[in-house]
C-alpha cells in the first residue's frame, strides 16, 4: 500500500533519474508517453492471422448452439493456415527483392509500410526478424497445421471427441512456432517456445477417453517444463555474458568485443542446447518422445513430429548458426555428440520396438540426428540442408502418422506390429502409401527422404565432418532395417502371402476424404520432391537466416536509438548457391 501511495503521490520533477554521465539517451520525462517501437503490421500478419484465427474459432464455437456442421472446424483451420501462408508471401517477396509475383505487381498495396529496400528486416524493437528462414518456416509450420488438421477431422469424429479445441490449439501452437521462427530476441523465442509447447502438451493429453493420452501429456509436460528451465537458465547466462537478450545486439556485442572470460557464454550455449535438444528430442534428451508419441492422439503426434520439430530447429539455427556462428568451434562439439548419439541410439532402439508408433518415434530421433549433422556444419549449405530436410520430413512423417491414424482404428490403440500384418493384402492402397513413406524415411532414391539425406551429407562433408557423414549413413542403414520390419509385416507375413481368403469387411479400412487428401498431398510431395528436387532446393536455398538491425528511429519517435541501419548478412549469405 505504502509504495503504491508513494507512486501516486509522486511529483514528476522529483523522479527524474540521475543518469550516469555518458549514458546514451537523454533522460526521459517519466510522465511522457512510453516510446513504443514502430510496428510493421505486415510483418506480424502471419502471427496475427494464426492467433486471432484461433480466438475467433473459439468464439464462433461458443456461439454455435447446436455445434458446428461437419467438417467446419477443419475447413476453418485450413483456411486460417492458408491465409497465414498467403500473408507470408509478401514477406518472402520483400526478403527476396521481388516486386511482383507473376502478373501481380504489389508494390503499391497496403503493405508498403515494409521497408523499401529489399532484403531481410526486423521490427518491434528488433524482437521480430523477417528473413528467408522465418518465412520458410511460416510456410512449413502452416503446412504442418493444414495436414495435421486434415488428419484430425475424421479422427475426432471417430473417437467421439469433436470440438474446436484441437483445432484452436493447433493454431495457437503454430502461432508459437511461427513466433519462434521469427524471434530475434531470446525472450521472444522462449515465449514462442512455451506457446508452442504448452499447446502441444494439451494436444498430447487431449484424447480424454484414453488414459495413455493423459499420461503422455503429463510426461511431456513434466519433461518439457524441465527443459524450459534449462533453456531459460541458458538465456540467463547469455544475458549475463552479453548484457542483452536480443540476438542482434548479442551478435553486435560479440563482434565488437571479445570477452576475456567466456565461461558464462559457454555454459549458456550448453544449457540452451540442452533445452533445444529436449524440444527436438535428441539423444540423450529423447526419453519422453517414444512414450509421448505412443500415448498422444496420432494426428497430434503428426504435428508434433513435423511442426514442433521444425520450430525447434528454426530456433536452433537462428541462435547457434547465425547469432553465435562466430563461436561455432565452441558449440559444434556438443552438436556433434548429440548428432552421433541421436543417429545411433535412435536407429538401434527403433529396431527393438514392437509398436509402430514407438518405432516411428525412435526413427524420428534418428532423423533429428541427421538434421543435427547439417546444423553442425554451420554453413549456408548446412542451413539449406536443414530446411530441405525439415520440409521433406514434414510430409513423410505426417503421411506416416496419417496411415497410423487409420490403422489405429477406433480407440487409436492398434499400433503393434501385429496389427500391420497382412495390411498389404487387406488394404493394398494404404499399405502402398505407407511403404512410400517408410522407404522415403529410409532414404531410398527418388524420394524426398533420399535427397534430404544427401544434402545433409553434402553439408557435413563440405564442412569437413566426413566421419560424421559416415556415421550418419551407417545409422541410416541400421534404420532402414526398422522400416523394412514394418514393410515385412505388411507384405510378407500372412502365411506365405498365398492365402486367398477374401478380405472381410472388418479388415477393410475406409480412407475418409480429409485424411485421404492429406495422405495424397504427402505422397505427391514425397515422391515429387524425390523426382524433381529443384524447386524445393531453390526455396530452401533462399531460406537464409540473417540478423538485421532495426533502422534507427528519428528523435521524434522517442530516443531508443538502437543502432545504425544496415543489414548484417548471415555467414556467407552471398554464396547461398553453394
Amino acid at each position: 500500500m505504502s509504495s503504491l501511495a508513494v507512486v501516486l503521490a509522486q511529483a514528476p520533477q522529483t523522479t527524474v533519474i540521475n543518469l550516469a554521465p555518458g549514458a546514451g539517451t537523454p533522460a526521459a520525462d517519466p510522465n511522457a508517453p512510453i516510446p513504443t517501437p514502430p510496428v510493421l503490421w505486415a510483418a506480424l500478419l502471419p502471427i496475427l492471422v494464426l492467433g486471432i484465427g484461433g480466438l475467433v474459432l473459439l468464439t464462433i464455437s461458443s456461439l454455435l448452439k447446436k455445434g458446428a456442421p461437419r467438417g467446419f472446424y477443419t475447413l476453418y483451420t485450413v483456411m486460417v493456415a492458408g491465409l497465414s501462408m498467403a500473408a507470408a508471401v509478401p514477406l518472402w517477396a520483400k526478403v527476396n527483392g521481388w516486386t511482383k509475383i507473376a502478373w501481380w505487381d504489389f508494390r503499391d498495396l497496403w503493405w508498403q509500410s515494409l521497408p523499401t529496400e529489399a532484403g531481410p528486416f526486423s521490427t518491434l524493437g528488433q524482437a521480430i526478424g523477417v528473413d528467408g528462414l522465418s518465412v520458410f518456416l511460416i510456410l512449413l509450420i502452416c503446412i504442418a497445421v493444414i495436414l495435421g488438421s486434415l488428419l484430425s477431422d475424421d479422427f475426432l469424429l471417430r473417437e467421439g471427441l469433436e470440438g474446436p479445441e484441437t483445432y484452436a490449439l493447433l493454431l495457437f501452437s503454430a502461432c508459437g512456432g511461427v513466433i519462434m521462427a521469427m524471434a530475434d530476441d531470446l525472450i521472444v523465442l522462449f515465449l514462442g517456445l512455451e506457446t508452442l509447447s504448452i499447446a502441444v502438451y494439451v494436444l498430447a493429453a487431449s484424447h480424454l477417453k484414453r488414459a495413455q493420452s493423459q499420461e503422455a501429456g503429463l510426461k511431456y509436460f513434466v519433461l518439457g517444463g524441465f527443459s524450459s528451465a534449462f533453456f531459460l537458465y541458458g538465456i540467463a547466462m547469455l544475458y549475463g555474458a552479453t548484457g542483452t537478450t536480443n540476438l542482434v545486439a548479442m551478435k553486435d556485442f560479440l563482434s565488437r568485443s571479445i570477452p576475456a572470460n567466456n565461461a558464462l557464454l559457454l555454459i549458456g550455449f550448453a544449457l540452451l542446447l540442452v533445452g533445444f535438444a529436449f524440444k527436438v528430442a535428441a539423444v540423450p534428451f529423447h526419453a519422453w518422445s517414444p512414450d509421448v508419441y505412443d500415448g498422444a492422439p496420432t494426428p497430434s503426434v503428426a504435428f508434433m513430429a513435423s511442426g514442433v520439430k521444425a520450430a525447434g530447429f528454426a530456433g536452433l539455427v537462428r541462435v547457434f548458426v547465425v547469432a553465435f556462428g562466430q563461436y561455432a568451434a565452441d558449440w559444434q562439439p556438443i552438436v556433434y555428440a548429440l548428432a552421433v548419439l541421436s543417429l545411433v541410439v535412435g536407429s538401434v532402439l527403433a529396431i527393438v520396438q514392437n509398436n509402430v508408433k514407438r518405432t516411428l518415434a525412435y526413427s524420428s530421433v534418428s532423423h533429428v540426428g541427421f538434421i543435427l549433422i547439417a546444423v553442425e556444419a554451420a554453413t549456408p549449405a548446412g542451413i539449406q540442408a536443414v530446411l530441405f530436410y525439415l520440409a521433406s520430413y514434414t510430409f513423410m512423417v505426417v503421411g506416416s502418422f496419417g496411415v497410423v491414424t487409420l490403422v489405429g482404428r477406433v480407440g487409436d490403440g492398434r499400433h503393434s506390429l501385429d496389427d500391420y500384418k497382412g495390411l498389404g493384402r487387406t488394404n493394398p492402397l494404404l499399405a502402398a502409401i505407407f511403404t512410400v513413406f517408410l522407404l522415403a524415411q529410409a532414404g531410398v532414391p527418388f524420394t524426398a527422404g533420399f535427397v534430404a539425406k544427401f544434402y545433409a551429407v553434402i553439408a557435413a562433408v563440405d564442412a569437413g565432418s566426413t566421419v560424421l557423414a559416415v556415421i550418419a549413413m551407417i545409422s541410416a542403414t541400421i534404420a532402414a532395417f526398422l522400416y523394412l520390419r514394418i514393410i515385412v509385416a505388411m507384405y510378407m507375413t500372412d502365411s506365405d502371402g498365398r492365402s486367398a481368403s477374401p478380405v472381410s469387411r472388418a479388415e477393410r479400412i475406409r480412407i475418409p476424404f480429409a485424411t485421404g487428401l492429406s495422405l495424397l498431398l504427402c505422397v505427391l510431395t514425397t515422391v515429387g520432391v524425390g523426382l524433381l528436387p529443384g524447386p524445393l532446393t531453390e526455396l530452401s536455398a533462399k531460406g537464409t537466416p540473417s540478423l538485421v538491425r532495426e533502422p534507427a528511429r528519428t528523435a521524434t519517435d522517442g530516443g531508443l536509438t538502437v543502432g545504425t541501419t544496415g543489414t548484417e548478412a548471415a555467414p556467407g549469405q552471398s554464396q547461398q548457391q553453394g
Binding site: I187, E194, L218, S228, Y239, G240, A287, D291
Partner: protein, 102 residues
C-alpha cells in the same frame, strides 16, 4: 562489475536450480515434480535479477516478469493434466505412467 554478494546470489540460484533438477528426476509424484519445476524457474529468476543488478540493467527484471507468466500458464495446464490423470487413476505416481520406459 559486481561484488561478492552478487556471486553469492548466483551461487544460491545455481544450487536451487540443481536441487530442483535433482528433485524432478528423483521424485515420482507429479505434483512434487511440478513444484520442482517452479523451484528451477525461481532459481533462474534470481539469476536474471542478479545479472540485471550487476549490469545495472532493468532488462533482467523485465524478463523475470515474463517467466512468472510462463510459470503461471504452465502450472494451470500442468494441474489440469494432473487432475485429468488422477481422475482416471487415483493415486497414480509417475511410475505407473511408465515414465522413462524409454
Amino acid at each position: 562489475m559486481g561484488n561478492d554478494v552478487n556471486i553469492g546470489y548466483l551461487t544460491l540460484s545455481a544450487i536451487l536450480f540443481g536441487v530442483g533438477a535433482i528433485g524432478l528426476l528423483v521424485r515420482r509424484n507429479a505434483l512434487v515434480m511440478l513444484m520442482c519445476i517452479e523451484l528451477m524457474l525461481n532459481a533462474v529468476n534470481l539469476t536474471f535479477v542478479t545479472f540485471g543488478s550487476m549490469l545495472n540493467d532493468i532488462t533482467g527484471q523485465v524478463v523475470v516478469f515474463f517467466v512468472l507468466v510462463v510459470a503461471a500458464a504452465e502450472v494451470v495446464v500442468g494441474l489440469g493434466i494432473i487432475v485429468a490423470v488422477a481422475r482416471r487413476r487415483p493415486g497414480a505416481t509417475a511410475d505407473d505412467l511408465r515414465v522413462l520406459r524409454g
